[in-house]
Amino acid sequence: MTSTSHTMEHVELFFKSIFIDNMVFATFLGMCSYLAVSKKVSTAVGLGAAVIFVLAITVPLNWLLDQYILQEGALVWLGPEFAAYDLSFLSFIMFIATIATMVQLVEIVVEKFSPALYNSLGIFLPLIAVNCAILGGSLFMQSREIATFGLALNYGVSSGIGWFLAILAIAAIREKIRYSNVPAPLRGLGITFIITGLMAIGFMSFGGMLTGGDEETVNEETTVNVQPEAEQLEQVENSDDTAVLAETN
């Protein structure tokens, strides 16, 4: 029973970070690169993949730092006299240093061992060191008090996937909207903001996903149904776009 509830915890966190607490739509993290690099689907995919990659590395790493160095009493493994230390005021500087170093390191390693991957991800890596989504991932990991290393890894990957989905969706919409008759002052940035707002409203409907009932079985059903729902949503959005397209043509 404990193992199933453990799995449930993972599944819940996974879907929660992708849909309910989506980095872009719920907390506006990484908006700068989200707006700047979403003109084409291909580049958006590259950046999204790089974000998943870097979040999957930095969140668990910063979790270890937080647990064994930064938290109040975390230094107790050095000896009982260290129990009173609370270094949490250093977390900003430690987290950002870890992120900057890891990004640099990942860039070097990827360049050395996989030139193909480097060609597709490489140009985005330096951009990512200052992406709010990456630091935000670590800071939310800390403030939400994620309990285990496994959950931290899960959180990093799933919030990365959420970000990836968001930038993929907006890039696809922006590619299509080029053919629509948008009022001149709204073109480009303005309409992107408003579309993102509307998408965020859409994503709010996922909020009911994990509060469906107090029985575990109910929870399981709701989480299973999520995937097709998301696809339907995208299809609906696409068909809306084509309708607009048809009208303008």
Partner: protein, 215 residues
């Protein structure tokens, strides 16, 4: 403007309107939107960014000749992180409730693109006084948008400004509420921040046609 030459004054005034960091340069949106549901939080955020960017630009400008260009990103991040820790500790000491509201978004000033953007684009190549003005100007431009968004979201969303009811009492039905006005709770939700900024961009570009971009 005895103290400031015309060129210096432009460093401050340009980012307020035609070169606004949020609506034109598209920088620093990440931390801008999540905390604008209340005017007070927006103002505190604006002041924090003014402090960090003003001081940070001066520090980077002072060190610009001794920073090796290969590790400049890390140096910049350390400078910002230090300043943000100061802001965070000050907020925790003097405005604890507010620092709870802002939660991780104080920390996210570190990766606020405006800050890195101004360090890279300005402070690394200009003198101390100019960098200071540029920092203050851009942070003000950011703050203005934040305060406008915060103003409308709090006014329309909860009928208050800085926590003070200005439209009357919704329960006792006084003021505007006596003629059937209702608060629009939707304004308090995060998506509306995006739409309000979209509308600000729309208005700004309608007034200044030169800013209109291609699809």
């Amino acid at each position: 403007m005895g103290l400031l030459s015309k060129k210096d004054a432009n460093l401050i005034l340009d980012p307020l309107t035609d070169n606004n960091p949020i609506t034109i340069q598209v920088l620093g949106i990440c931390s801008a939107l999540a905390i604008t549901a209340e005017l007070e939080a927006s103002i505190v955020m604006a002041i924090s960014v003014i402090f960090v960017l003003g001081v940070g630009n001066v520090v980077i400008s002072l060190m610009r000749n001794i920073i090796p260009s290969k590790i400049r990103i890390i140096v910049q991040l350390i400078v910002v992180a230090t300043l943000v820790i100061i802001v965070d500790l000050v907020l925790k000491a003097f405005a604890y409730e507010l620092s709870k509201t802002l939660s991780v978004f104080v920390g996210l000033i570190i990766t606020n693109c405006i800050i890195m953007g101004r360090f890279e684009a300005f402070a690394l190549g200009n003198g101390v006084w100019k960098s200071f003005l540029d920092g203050i100007g851009n942070a003000l431009g950011y703050g203005v948008i934040l305060i406008i968004v915060g103003f409308f979201r709090e006014l329309l969303g909860s009928g208050t400004l800085l926590g003070i009811p200005v439209l009357g009492d919704p329960i006792a039905k006084t003021g505007l509420y006596s003629i059937g006005y209702e608060n629009n709770g939707f304004m308090l939700l995060s998506p509306m921040a995006l739409i309000v900024v979209g509308i600000i961009i729309w208005i700004q570009r309608t007034k200044n046609k030169a800013l209109i971009e291609d699809n």
